[in-house]
């Protein structure tokens, strides 16, 4: 590969923000036809590096070369003109416009007098869509597409120019396994055309499946580049965090208490049907399944955010009716939601106020909130959960993902719940904090909490659960104890393969 000219070369990039050296002498090269993974914990500098490449930040030092030509990037649009395009994790598309209008947004082909050349627009769009092999056309309204297909539109948008380098930022975050296959085909196609690809992801499995080389950043510094074929997950993890992550099977066994939560025949429209399971005190029950299998919806129903169409919920053997989160909290049910920024935290508020939010009305002295009582609770759970923050006044939005998640968990623990539901406990959290959260969940079970963990990551489910409920398409396919579960049987269950066996 040393003979070929790199498509993209970053040399000695330095970027500092007040108080932090976000990028410290980072160099990085992408060859034609290469899929190059960029990895690192959250805050390691990946996003900053990509923003420098896209011209959003000007680097303090260092140079960017495209085809060995020194280039100054000034804006994402200019980067695109030079053939460097970005596929963002968060889609930036307009729901009400057609696929074609989205793809050519800002660059609509024009006829005289500023009229849109619709024929050319739809023709060009359909030509691009054909190369992506998708099942919708140029005139489809974007809002009618699935997330995966919307992502395809985002990709199509990158292909309106002949791209030299394409940057994928966590592209599979919201895709199902089948949809990932399509995405990987597109990447392979681009690769065969000699396009250089930067692939940013936290998911080791994908990285090892599709990339040629892996470069790792840690604390803003370049830590090295590995040939994917000659390395393994351990080596990469060690580069990223300086140690390896323990994701062995859960083998701890302690005495389980009584059944804390029982669900009988719970259904909610076409989201999930006839779901039954129980959770004992001291037990972690893992819910595993594909995106859309109905796991989050079950949690939301138990927490009172959705109304069940049938079935019963029993707490400590008593049937209860839960029609709002207020009811659920009253019965000792807590939910750490899937999207902590949108559903769990008040990002503009400080750490203490976030933690005491559900119980602040009980922390009053006269008409006013008692500062002392609040700080006492915050201090207790900061120490218990090892939350790293300069102080309770720190705005939660400024904390790292791992610490934010601990604030949410602390918020509910301070309510002394019977049942703690944790939806995607480590989504968007860096590797180091992941194992802390895992240990925390095991500790909580050991202390007698009944815990439900919903996760899309099999190693995580296997690592933390005493029992695993496998779901497929809104139904419970099978329940496993941690002793009997195997990866194969679990994958079969969540793919619906056992449906025939049972039927």
């Amino acid at each position: 590969m040393s003979e070929a000219i790199p498509i993209l070369r970053l040399e000695g990039i330095v970027k500092t923000f007040p108080g932090v050296r976000a990028l410290d002498d980072v160099s990085f090269t992408v060859m034609p036809g290469e899929v190059h993974a960029l990895m690192g914990e959250n805050g390691a500098g990946k996003s900053t590096l990509m923003k420098v490449l896209g011209g959003i930040y000007a680097p303090d030092e260092g140079r960017i070369f495209i085809d060995e030509e020194p280039t100054v990037m000034t804006s994402p649009l200019q980067a695109k003109a030079k053939g460097v395009v970005f596929i963002h994790q968060e889609l930036s598309l307009a729901d009400e416009l057609t696929v074609a209008e989205n793809i050519f947004l800002g660059e609509l082909p024009l006829k005289s007098m500023g009229r849109v050349d619709w024929a050319k627009l739809y023709g060009d769009t359909n030509r691009i869509l054909k190369t992506l092999n998708v099942g919708f056309n140029a005139k489809t309204r974007l809002g009618d597409l699935s997330i995966a297909n919307q992502q395809m539109v985002e990709i199509a948008r990158a292909l309106t120019v002949e791209p030299r380098a394409v940057i994928f930022d966590e592209p599979t975050a919201s895709l199902t396994d089948a949809e990932k296959v399509v995405l990987f085909d597109v990447i392979a196609e681009l690769k065969s055309r000699g396009v250089g690809i930067i692939y940013i992801s936290h998911r080791m499995e994908e990285i090892f499946k599709i990339t040629d080389r892996i470069s790792v950043l840690r604390d803003g510094q370049y830590r090295g580049t590995l040939e994917t074929a000659q390395t393994n997950e351990d080596e990469v993890t060690q580069l990223m965090i300086g140690r390896s992550l323990d994701l062995s099977r859960n083998e701890s066994h302690h005495e389980l208490g009584d059944v804390a939560l029982e669900v009988r025949g719970l259904s909610c429209g076409n989201l999930f049907q006839d779901v039954s399971f129980e959770v004992r005190s001291g037990e972690v029950v893992g819910f595993y399944g594909l995106v859309g299998a109905g796991r989050t919806e079950i949690a939301e129903t138990i927490f009172g955010l959705r109304n069940p169409s049938a079935g019963q919920i029993l707490i400590d053997g008593q049937e209860v009716r839960i029609s709002s989160p207020i009811d659920a909290i009253g019965y000792g049910i807590s939910l750490v939601p899937e999207d902590r920024k949108a559903q769990g935290l008040v990002l503009g508020m400080n750490c203490r106020d976030n933690m005491t939010l559900p119980q602040v009305s009980d922390l009053t002295a006269g008409p006013f909130v008692s500062d002392g009582a609040e700080i006492a609770i915050f201090d207790q759970y900061r120490d218990k959960l090892d939350i790293r923050t300069p102080g309770w006044k720190q705005i939660v939005g400024n904390l790292s993902g791992g610490n934010q998640q601990k604030i949410v968990i602390g918020k509910w623990l301070s309510m002394h719940p019977r049942v703690l539901i944790v939806d995607e406990p480590t989504r968007g959290i860096d590797v180091g904090s992941k194992s802390e959260i895992h240990n925390l969940i095991r500790d909580l079970a050991a202390q007698g909490y009944a815990v439900i963990v919903i996760s899309s990551e099999m190693p995580e489910v296997l690592h933390v659960s005493d029992r695993i409920v496998a779901m497929y398409s809104g139904r419970v396919m099978r329940q496993f104890t941690s002793d009997e579960v195997t990866e194969d049987s679990l994958i079969q269950a969540i793919s619906g393969i056992e449906a025939q066996v049972l039927a």
Binding site: F17, P18, G19, V20, G43, F303, L305, S324, P325, I326, I329, L335, P337, A342, Q343, G344, L345, V346, L347, G348, M349, D353, L357, P358, V360, S361, T364, P367, F368, V369, R388, T389, P390, Q394, N398, L399, S400, N403, K411
Partner: protein, 330 residues
């Protein structure tokens, strides 16, 4: 408190000081009056004149911290004034003599509470955006004002009432005391109570607030009742002295109140804001009006300048906020 919050919360007061210095110096050259701008009596008058819009703006702050808005306050203000003055002419009220005063006030304040509750219930129960709901009620309430007495003013001058309104205690006028009392109470509510905490939480992330078991609907209702009450209180304070209300009175008050709140740094999108800064915003606007008048500018110039300053201030605020985005993540 770090430098940035100090800068943001102190900015409005620095702006007020700058206005005072500017108008004092400019006044020496341009004013036809030989009185200095920073004359003590002039400043007392300024505070008094700030009260009607100020009391409404303070209530608007908590509405806007919620992420809502109330466009009907000007109409509520007018209707409460009509009810107060008209009720004092009713035969049984006349018979009560000066004892009709507290009763008339109660009628006016109840009017505000009821109108506010209607807004609050609509926002709560229909889920329609507060902007739309109060846009409708702004028109509707104003319609009620005209239905009451046509195009004619409603008048009732009661000299006991006028004496009370013009009284000065520790130099400050009655209206100023009301303004300060409302400021104190709302400051305590927003910074020290559960209700205040919930107001910020709902405005910042409504979904997270619902998930934490906060009853968002009733919370909104209370705040709309509060601002309805305050709009009526503002009318009570103002018309006790003037004794006559035109059906068009209070028009654009909602926009002046919002201007003062925004100038004080409260975000239109909710989740952030401060009562004390709104008081600063109110005083800054009144200073501009008075100061520009002092140096001989007409009303039209005043409005132009205030408009320009509002946009300039929000532009600066944006610049300051953007800097914060690049802060260190721990």
């Amino acid at each position: 408190m770090n430098i940035q919050t100090l800068l943001k919360q102190g900015a409005i007061w620095a702006f007020i000081v700058a206005e005072l210095i500017f108008f004092t110096i400019a006044g020496d050259f341009l004013s036809t009056s030989d009185k200095s701008f920073m004359d003590f009596d002039n400043m007392l008058l300024l505070l008094k004149q700030s009260a009607p819009i100020g009391i409404i703006a303070l209530g608007m702050t908590i509405i806007m911290i919620n992420g809502n808005i109330d466009l009907s306050v000007g109409a509520t203000f007018a209707l409460a004034a009509v009810v107060m003055l008209d009720s004092m002419t009713w035969p049984f009220m006349v018979a009560l003599g000066d004892w009709s005063i507290p009763l008339a006030w109660t009628f006016a304040l109840l009017t505000g509470v009821v109108l506010g509750a209607i807004n609050g219930l609509l926002v709560w129960k229909t889920g329609v955006d507060a902007f739309i709901v109060t846009l409708g009620s702004m028109l509707g309430y104003r319609g009620l004002v005209f239905m009451y007495n046509g195009e004619n003013p409603t008048s009732k001058l009661n000299w006991t009432l006028v004496d009370f309104a013009e009284a000065q205690f520790l130099s400050l006028h009655t209206a100023t005391w009301f303004l300060l009392a409302v400021t104190l109470v709302l400051w305590l509510v927003t910074t020290k109570t559960v209700h205040g905490r919930n107001a910020y939480a709902i405005g910042n992330n409504r979904e997270a607030a619902v998930n934490a078991g906060i009853k968002v609907g009733p919370h909104f209702l209370w705040n709309f009742i509060l601002i309805g009450f305050l709009a009526a209180l503002s009318a009570v304070v103002f018309y006790s002295e003037s004794g006559s209300v035109n059906p068009n009175d209070g028009m654009l008050y909602e926009l002046w109140a919002i201007t003062a709140v925004v100038l004080g740094g409260t975000k239109l999108s909710g989740g952030y804001g401060s009562i004390i800064s709104t008081l600063g915003g109110v005083i800054a606007i009144q200073l501009l009006r008075k100061g520009l008048g002092h140096i001989g500018a007409g009303t039209e110039t005043v409005n132009l300048v205030i408009g320009l300053i509002l946009i300039a201030v929000l532009f600066l605020d944006r610049q300051l906020n953007r800097k914060g985005k690049e802060e260190l993540k721990i």
